[in-house]
Point group: C2
Chain length 348, copies 2
């Protein structure tokens, strides 16, 4: 059996991280990479990543997707270009029409039914027409604040209330994330950006809440979310960020899914640089009231960057094996690490 | 659409608990119950369970399975009669040949490939011939020390070592469990029973280890397990058990799965009455070394009885929706609570 052929669209921190991971796995090869950044185009990925090429063919980063992905040129494309379904849609559509499967890191694509039901239906239709599958996933949305919650409800007779809380550190992240999360802004600047709608914060609460609700059979009648600055009392410095005392060290996002007028799903997600400096210890927490109660903690939190890279790569076999259409993490078997030859995970 | 029709075979703590759970769910009905215990046969389940019957038809507990389950008489049978594949096999075979789906609580049936590959292959064949599906599940094996482990590896780039530890209390359980786990025995009696092979302990390590290994692509070349008495220093009393100081309060089971001669999967499962009396606090712990490391704790542990009942009932839609054959928790979508009408979870 031939190796699993993967192309990557978007070679930033996520796309290049997936490439590194793939190069260490058996039974899979990278056949193309598309990226539009001037500092990447034209470079060989092995050189770019500082990985020994050995007897593998060079893979030159190309800005023209039509030269990277065309009809059945690979088994799957990993797209790491967007956060929103609207932005990801034309790229995913192009790949599906080339009869290749797609995994997208776009947060909203983890459950596009939540905010873009028409685009979700269209992707499902296009995927089915072309006999391929599309999935959105990542660490969150994708696992920590949704699929893992769903999985834990599996051992419950009744569920009364769900709280998913992810307390993480932004310190490992680069400039883009600092900018997106408002690290270093004054409180005034932060609030202005929230008002303008230019503060990204965490993208995915609407998706996670709807995924959980649909999974267990709750009908959400209202969804709300809030974005508040985390104001630091001390100067905090991370490799790529700085927040002076009195300024913003990150964003605290909260969200609620209401069922029959009652907040049944609570999401809490404070993200900041150097949280330990003021006694905040990171972790992922799921507390589900019901019968029996389930109180789970992962300490420290699963690192977001590595987690997203791993989720996308590890889901490759499940997506290739799936029936055609738009899938979500609810439809597929549980994610799992790939420690053997990837071809052994593919059903013939 | 008609309600989902469920029959139950075995009406002890598990079977009757599933019945109670089902009677509180929408879109599902119990159409038959088989049990051979004299104290149950001939009784109406509503009376037996102390549940208001309302306008539902009586369901009389019948010792003759041929009167309870026959060709397509229900959508699924929940069998709660055995721990071992060998004992469960003829009962499951009978049900599959009636063209009904089966969920079994038998611990070994959670992954019968591990110790009974021929019987597993035969069940797969029979299920396929009859167009139905069979699954073994429960809290453990089924979720805590296997599926949840697998799920958490999904966010990992590399896995080096897995430890799954379940520290639970036997206090909620009845006489049968006290007897099976050696509660109240002297150390001498305990060791004699281990030597005789009449100490049950926890059944399922071989299955959990093989399930994890197959899921992530590790080849197990040796599996071992050990059974040690938990000797109490103080008198311990639970509703159905008693262990005097110096005697046995429970069983500590450990197990190892070796890959290339190295113990890569460690299972630790001490079960005892009143663990708090000597400073042991219960919980489920999963510690996975690799990239990134994942350290998960559920405190206290998910209660085994309720958890098994919930897992079996909650998997009903997934089993009905599945393609024919023998399935394991690795093959199906993640378990989830059923808070809405069960029919909404069934694919048409």
């Amino acid at each position: 059996m031939e190796k699993v052929k993967v192309a990557i669209w978007g070679f930033g921190a996520m796309g290049s991280g997936m490439a590194k991971m793939l190069l260490n796995k058996k039974g899979v090869e990278i056949v193309g990479v598309c990226d539009i950044s001037e500092k990447r185009v034209g470079k060989d990925i092995y050189e770019f990543l500082g990985v020994e090429r050995g007897d593998r063919k060079p893979v030159i980063i190309n800005s023209n997707i039509e030269e990277v992905v065309n009809e059945k040129s690979c088994d799957i494309v990993l797209t790491a270009t967007d956060s929103f379904t609207k932005g990801a849609f034309p790229k995913i559509k192009y790949c599906l029409e080339q009869k290749v499967n797609v995994i997208s890191t776009a947060e909203e694509m983890s459950y596009p039914q939540a905010q873009n039901p028409e685009l979700a239906a269209e992707l499902d239709k296009i995927a089915k027409e072309n006999g391929v599958t599309v999935l959105g996933t990542g660490i969150n949305p994708g696992l920590i604040m949704d699929l893992l919650v769903v999985c834990l409800t599996g051992c419950m007779i009744d569920v009364e209330h769900i709280e998913a809380k992810r307390v993480n550190s932004l310190s490992p992240f680069g400039h883009t994330v600092m900018e997106e999360q408002g690290v270093g802004l004054t409180v005034e600047e932060f609030n202005k950006r929230v008002k303008d709608g230019t503060m990204a914060g965490h993208v995915g609460f609407a998706e996670s809440v709807q995924m959980i609700a649909d999974a267990i059979g709750w009908k959400i009648d209202k969804f709300e979310q809030q974005m508040k600055p985390i104001v630091t009392k001390v100067d905090r410095k991370s490799p790529h960020g700085f927040a002076a005392a009195g300024d913003v060290a990150g964003v605290n996002m909260t969200g609620q899914g209401y069922v029959n007028g009652e907040a049944k799903i609570d999401m809490v997600h404070p993200q900041q640089i150097e949280p330990e400096m003021e006694g905040t210890y990171t972790g992922d927490y799921i507390n589900i009231k019901g019968t029996p109660e389930v109180n789970m903690a992962i300490k420290p939190e699963v690192e977001g960057g590595l987690g997203t890279i791993a989720m996308c790569v590890n889901m490759i076999p499940h997506v290739i094996n799936a029936s055609p259409g738009l899938k979500t993490m609810l439809d597929l078997p549980v994610p799992r690490a790939i420690m053997g030859d990837m071809r052994d995970f593919i059903e013939r």
